[in-house]
């Protein structure tokens, strides 16, 4: 099986600081992958490059089957191509209802004219209800997203990502600031999501990663330090030195 996303030899520098240094990474369809690394290891920059927010100085990012380059495409074009991204802090549209947030994210034509003429059909409403059920917000559909608790906002954002039906989901620190019960639910959501699509989880928290039970990539100073099962990487000498040992 060929890779869904292949990042090879990517370097990015900001004012001389090398955020990514010849980074190579690939992920297959329906794979769950955790990316860990200390602060400044390049985790967020890696996501920025894949989603089109940052242009790399060199390297290739190819996507799909047959592989096409994602470099030079706009963020929205990449999102439409099937890459969804969840930010570290929950970013939902706080002034709008949960239903409106989900409706906006549903996989539909994104052009201004088709959106202007869009009227929700009953299957769209059903899909929104179904998603709300998945993320446990069925009773909150008409509430404004800004009123939700921190954990609920994170789930709403995950729900919006599921609504986009991406083939690859990039998730930045989903468990930050969550209670233990909320973390467990988040783990379940992510594992369920990985049944039908590829998911990359960037995480700080080793326990959370352990619970995800998947292949782990360790980043350090902008490149891959180690890759393998959680037990494999936690036994790796250099990983212990730069990350776990601190």
């Amino acid at each position: 099986m060929s890779a869904l996303l292949e990042v090879s030899g990517v370097s990015v520098s900001f004012d001389g600081f090398k955020a990514l240094n010849n980074l190579s990474f690939s992920i297959n369809e329906r794979e769950l992958r955790a990316v860990i690394g200390p602060n400044g290891a390049g985790k967020t920059t890696f996501m920025d490059v894949v989603t089109g927010k940052t242009r790399p100085d060199q390297g290739r990012v190819s996507w799909g089957e047959p592989p096409v380059s994602l470099l030079g495409r706009s963020e929205s074009a990449i999102a439409v191509a099937g890459i969804g991204r969840k930010f570290q802090r929950p970013t939902v549209f706080e002034d709008q209802s949960v239903a409106d947030n989900l409706m906006m994210a549903l996989k539909k034509p994104r052009g201004p004219l088709s959106v202007l003429l869009f009227r929700p059909a009953s299957e769209d409403l059903d899909r929104v209800a179904e998603l709300a059920d998945t993320i446990g917000l069925s009773t909150q559909l008409s509430r404004k997203a800004g009123e939700l608790s921190h954990g609920q906002k994170q789930w709403l954002e995950i729900g919006m990502l599921l609504a986009q039906e991406p083939r690859l989901l990039l998730v930045d620190e989903p468990a930050a600031g969550m209670t233990t019960a909320e973390r467990e639910k988040t783990t379940d959501l992510l594992r369920a999501a990985a049944q039908s699509r590829a998911v990359v989880v960037v995480e700080h928290d080793m326990d959370f990663v352990r619970r995800l039970d998947c292949r782990v990539t360790v980043l350090h100073e902008g490149s891959v330090l180690a890759e393998g099962s959680i037990d494999h990487v936690t036994r790796n000498e250099s990983v212990i030195e730069v990350y776990l040992g601190r």
């Binding site: 989603t51 927010k53 706009s74 963020e75 929205s76 074009a77 999102a79 439409v80 969804g84 991204r85 930010f87 970013t91 939902v92 549209f93 706080e94 002034d95 709008q96 239903a99 409106d100 409706m103 906006m104 994210a105 994104r110 052009g111 201004p112 959106v115 202007l116 869009f118 009227r119 929700p120 009953s122 409403l125 404004k144 800004g146 009123e147 919006m160 986009q164």
Partner: protein, 410 residues
């Protein structure tokens, strides 16, 4: 969710009702059509006010809903005015010239007529030939098309360059100010082809309708302005309701997030900016025939800043707020600057409102921004018992245009 448009937007019905009552009320009281209690000049003031309400709706679309603080929207308004003004001036001068040449022993050739019109119109700037931009001035349909097309195209080109380079926030505001200032300075030149600082005048006289008289004409324009405002309100409500409105508000509060949802943010901004410029152009085309004169001072940067102030005082992000703000502040401004307001004597200081009105306006703007961000439109929330969210002072999104805590609804 599948309820009718009116059921989802009850403010539309209330607005149309209020506008209809107002229009009929003025008609009953006016000189031409009723009791004669309202003078023709005041009918014109009210008609102009309706046009200002329409351009305020256009401003609210870009600023209140999409977070683009355009400080150049009156440029589109004035372009609409110039476009219709060119035809009005040409057609009326043509009538005058044909009449005076009719007395000559030989019937005048078309060239003589054209030269006569050009000499009449451009004598004041020392020219006697039509500049190329007057090529379509003889045709009402073409100039009417220009009312829509010229502001639309200018907005399209401007926003294509500005939004594609991701210029946002205060930089975009400065860019729009520069646009309107540049246009104004260009039009001030005599060789710009639009009579320099003289502008276009006599626009209140519709060619061929001299016999009708100003009282009836002003009523007709008043009605046309009311209809345009009603249509503009319904159109704007339709645009901001539903998913398109969701996306616009999303762009206002958190543009990057909308991008990662897959929406081409720049195209949306371009669309709404252009639509709003077209509405502004139409409002201008109805305004200037009632004002009678248009000159480059109308495009001065301050005019567009006033527009933003009206919308802020009325309450941005709600269409009726923009309308109320524009009507209230512009009518108040007419009253204060018209010398009708009695002077205020504070001991040795005598406050003459003609001079002090702008100070009062500035203070009210600051006060509204600080203490009542919802503006006058917020008064309706007291009736509806709408509550603001308790977010400990946080805005509803990271962008500079994002709705503030007290502007929002829980």
């Amino acid at each position: 969710m599948s309820r009718s448009f009116i059921a989802r937007n009850p403010s539309v019905l209330w607005f149309l009702l209020a506008l209809a009552v107002f229009t009929l009320g003025v008609t009953v009281l006016a000189e031409a059509t009723g009791l004669g209690l309202v003078s023709t000049s005041f009918v014109k003031t009210l008609g102009k006010t309706l046009c200002l309400c329409l351009v305020a709706i256009a401003m609210d679309l870009v600023w209140g809903y999409c977070g683009i603080l355009s400080l150049g929207h009156m440029a589109f308004f004035a372009i609409g005015g110039y476009a219709i003004g060119m035809w009005l001036m040409y057609a009326r001068t043509r009538l005058i010239v044909t009449e005076s040449l009719a007395a000559a022993p030989l019937p005048p050739t078309p060239d003589e007529i054209t030269d006569g019109i050009a000499a009449q119109i451009f004598g004041v700037v020392g020219a006697s030939e039509f500049p190329p931009i007057w090529a379509f001035a003889h045709s009402l349909p073409l100039q009417l098309a220009a009312v829509v097309l010229v502001p639309g195209l200018l907005a399209l080109v401007f926003s294509w360059f500005a939004f594609r380079s991701r210029v946002t926030g205060v930089y975009l505001s400065i860019l729009t100010q520069a646009m309107t200032l540049a246009l104004s300075l260009y039009l001030f030149q005599n060789d710009s082809g639009l009579r320099g600082n003289n502008g276009l005048s006599g626009l209140q006289n519709l060619p061929g309708l001299e016999a009708v008289g100003q009282p009836v004409l002003s009523m007709a324009f008043f009605w046309a302005s009311a209809l345009a405002l009603a249509a503009g309100y319904v159109l704007a409500s339709w645009v901001v309701s539903g998913k398109f409105g969701s996306v616009l508000r999303g762009i206002r509060d958190d543009e990057a997030r909308v991008r990662f949802l897959g929406y081409p943010v720049e195209t949306y901004k371009l669309f709404i900016f252009t639509l709003s410029a077209v509405i502004a152009g139409i409002a201008g085309a109805l305004y200037y025939p009632q004002a009678g004169i248009i000159n480059p001072a109308e495009l001065a940067p301050i005019a567009s800043i006033y527009l933003a102030v009206w919308v802020a005082i009325g309450g941005r992000g709600r269409l009726y707020g923009a309308v109320i703000g524009a009507a209230f502040v512009s009518l108040l401004s007419t009253w204060f600057t018209g010398g009708q307001a009695p002077d205020l004597v504070l001991g040795p200081v005598r406050i003459q409102w003609v001079d002090w009105w702008t100070v009062l306006l500035g203070l009210s703007f600051v006060a509204v921004t600080l203490f009542a961000p919802k503006g006058i439109g917020g008064l309706f929330d007291l009736v509806r018992l709408r509550r603001a969210p308790d977010r400990h002072g946080a805005d509803l999104g990271p962008d500079t245009g994002a709705l503030r805590e007290r502007e929002a609804e829980t």
